[in-house]
């Protein structure tokens, strides 16, 4: 029979890929650990962030201002009420309540306010708050802005009464023009979308990549496999195909989870026209293709290099750390990414994901650049793994 029937290289590659996928699908614990976070973590984080943002937005929209001494400044009260602020009577223990976080800011109109104003002195109001509380920030900012506005208006009226133009007292006119498109406003929240998408591409293939390399060696099934007619390049290609396919599935599941959550879950309205439609979903997948290909190759390399599964896990966690820290650095820098960043694996993908989310078009040249390096690296690393499998030393140390 020998020589009669020889499989073609493609058949052998497919046989390897098929076997590794079947083997992985049978490994229920690994499947659970890999797929469950992909399915659940993303939507959960989204829900959480949405409700935090929504509660902050609610605060701004309906500012409640507990006040002491309302009756002392009827004009100010009228001004604030015109600005949709609800003025309530502050309880006497308001300081304790602010410290406890139950109240954000309290307005105190001093007793001698009326007398001061009547005698031409500046009337004093106090704003009492705890600046260290993040949640109170928007209420504080809003109240300060309103009081400044009232101050300006009042001053202008007085100047006018004295026959002077209001610009005498306000020579500088500051206008803020917010260039953020509605989509850009949600950018920070969307950072997490990009980050999780990237992370899925990094983590998705890890368990299986190590199982088909370090695991194969630890199980003592590598040596007999190397004595079959399957060439090392075919084994490596087949294994890579299985890992990359699995990785792609994890990424698709993760992103689809987001898509469905954003589309159908009863998320509180945050006033941001958030776009993660089928179009963004498709773009995400396209942008992540180079990483879906590259990271399995890198992990196969790590797994083949290591003598045991444990050793492999240790070196892979280094890769994961490096990859997951890069986007954070980019975010903290808060600079616009230069065009050449598209050439850099991981950074380039993260930058492009951001562009997709901000509703910007992706230039074809950038996309091509972001594919070039990772795909070349994938081929290089796979050839390296092939060389390792062809060496005698692969058998040592078992």
């Amino acid at each position: 029979m020998p020589g009669q029937s020889v499989a073609s290289p493609q058949e052998r590659v497919l046989a390897v890929a098929r076997k590794e996928l079947l083997d992985t699908l049978r490994d229920r614990r690994t499947l659970l650990v890999t797929l469950l976070p992909a399915l659940i973590a993303g939507p959960l984080v989204l829900l959480l962030m949405f409700s935090v943002i929504a509660s902050q937005l609610d605060k701004v929209r309906e500012l409640k201002l507990p006040t002491i001494g309302k009756e002392r400044a009827p004009a100010l009260v009228a001004f604030l009420e015109r600005q949709q602020v609800t003025l309530t009577i502050a309880p006497s223990d308001f300081e304790t309540k602010i410290r406890a976080g139950e109240m954000d800011v309290v307005l105190v109109i001093e007793e001698k306010f009326e007398a001061d104003v009547a005698e031409g002195r500046a009337g004093t109001v106090q704003l009492i708050y705890d600046r260290s509380r993040d949640r109170a920030q928007s209420a504080i900012r809003e109240t300060e802005a309103l009081l400044r506005a009232y101050n300006r208006q009042w001053g202008s009226q007085r100047l006018l009464l004295r026959g002077m133009a209001p610009t005498v007292g306000n020579p500088l006119n500051v206008e803020s023009i917010d260039l953020a498109t509605p989509q850009q406003s949600g950018a920070f929240l969307l950072f997490f979308l990009a980050y999780y998408g990237l992370f899925a591409a990094v983590m998705g293939g890890m368990a299986i990549a190590l199982d088909v390399t370090a695991g194969e060696r630890e199980r003592q099934s590598l040596e007999p496999l190397l004595m079959t007619p399957a060439r090392p390049l075919e084994l490596v290609t087949g294994k890579w195909m299985a890992v990359a396919a699995f990785n792609a599935v994890v990424v698709i599941i993760t992103l689809t989870g987001y898509y469905l959550t954003l589309r159908f879950a009863p998320l509180p309205a945050v006033g941001v026209p958030f776009l993660f439609s089928a179009r963004e979903l498709a773009w995400f997948l396209v942008v992540l293709v180079p990483l879906i290909a590259l990271l399995p190759a890198v992990m196969l390399f790590m797994g083949t290099r290591s003598r045991t599964f444990k050793e492999a896990q240790a070196s892979v966690s280094l890769v994961i750390f490096a990859v997951s820290i890069i986007p954070v650095v980019q975010l903290v820098q808060q600079k616009k990414d230069p065009d050449w960043i598209a050439w850099i694996p991981v950074s380039g993908q993260f930058s492009l994901l951001g562009q997709v989310l901000r509703g910007e078009g992706i230039p074809l040249a950038h996309l091509a650049a972001s594919f070039a390096v990772p795909l070349a690296l994938t081929v290089g690393v796979l050839l390296l793994v092939t060389r390792m499998l062809s060496r005698e030393s692969i058998l040592a140390g078992k």
């Binding site: 020998p2 020589g3 020889v6 083997d23 049978r26 199980r219 003592q220 099934s221 590598l222 004595m227």
Partner: protein, 247 residues
């Protein structure tokens, strides 16, 4: 037919570990040749060279006329190996484990199905055929590994200590199996450190010690050569003199 001519292999940075030194022997078709020697004599290294996993430093080794270095992949199609490492895939069933190797050997589906059935039946694996190999006993795993090595009906069969860890019933079943293969004209090379194993099964015996061939021939020839009365005495006296067991 397996033929080795002055094969040597060293390991280590400077080749200081001389695992195999100037080994020559032949193993004819239709016979079981035993490779007998103490632990560390170089048996596994010899089998790995024949299995094309490592390349001899010097000398020529061929199987069925194919050079193990030059015709690497043709040799791999030609041989079935039960190596020292014989791990199975625990999440695959017996049948799937065997099928994987059959596919890599390029057996067409119908032929592969038939081969798997035959092997499962002759090795007594019927009850285990569709169970995952996780939790199989040593003997059961060994049978699956043998079935896997034989799936493409190889003309040359290399077995590295196949009886290790087997109970006596399994050993006897294995012997029957190997005799059948011999009857079918296969060339079998069987390594063991257990003298009784080799004596019970092999037509020819090659005794190796410290990396080189100490003596070879039939059991009767070896006994005569050592001037001993039993094969065991012959084994000990052939190895014990010189560098044999001490190495």
């Amino acid at each position: 037919m397996i033929r080795l001519e002055s094969v040597s292999k060293s390991f280590g940075k400077h080749g200081e570990i001389r695992a195999v030194r100037d080994v020559s022997f032949t193993a004819p078709d239709g016979q079981i040749t035993g490779l007998l020697g103490p632990n560390g004599a170089g048996k596994t290294t010899l089998l790995r060279m024949l299995g094309t996993l490592i390349v001899p430093d010097r000398g020529v080794a061929s199987i069925g006329g194919l050079d193990v270095v030059r015709d690497l992949f043709a040799v791999r199609e030609h041989i079935g190996v039960l190596s020292d490492a014989r791990g199975l895939y625990p999440r695959l069933t017996t049948r799937e484990n065997i099928r994987y190797y059959g596919t890599l050997h390029g057996l067409p589906d119908a032929l592969l199905d038939a081969r798997i059935e035959t092997l499962i039946h002759t090795l007594g694996l019927d009850a285990l055929a569709d169970r995952r190999t996780q939790g199989f006993s040593q003997g059961e795993k060994m049978k699956v590994a043998i079935a896997r090595a034989l799936v493409h009906d190889p003309a040359t069969i290399l077995l590295d200590e196949p009886t290790n860890g087997l109970d006596i019933m399994s050993v006897r079943a294995l012997r029957d199996q190997l005799r059948q293969l011999r009857g079918a004209g296969k060339c079998l090379l069987f390594s063991s450190h257990v003298m009784q194993e080799v004596a019970a099964l092999c037509d020819r015996i090659v005794i190796v010690g410290a990396g080189h061939v100490v003596a070879q021939g039939t059991a009767a020839e070896l006994i005569a050569q050592a001037g001993a009365t039993t094969l065991e005495d012959a084994f000990v006296s052939l190895l014990g003199t010189g560098e044999g067991l001490a190495a």
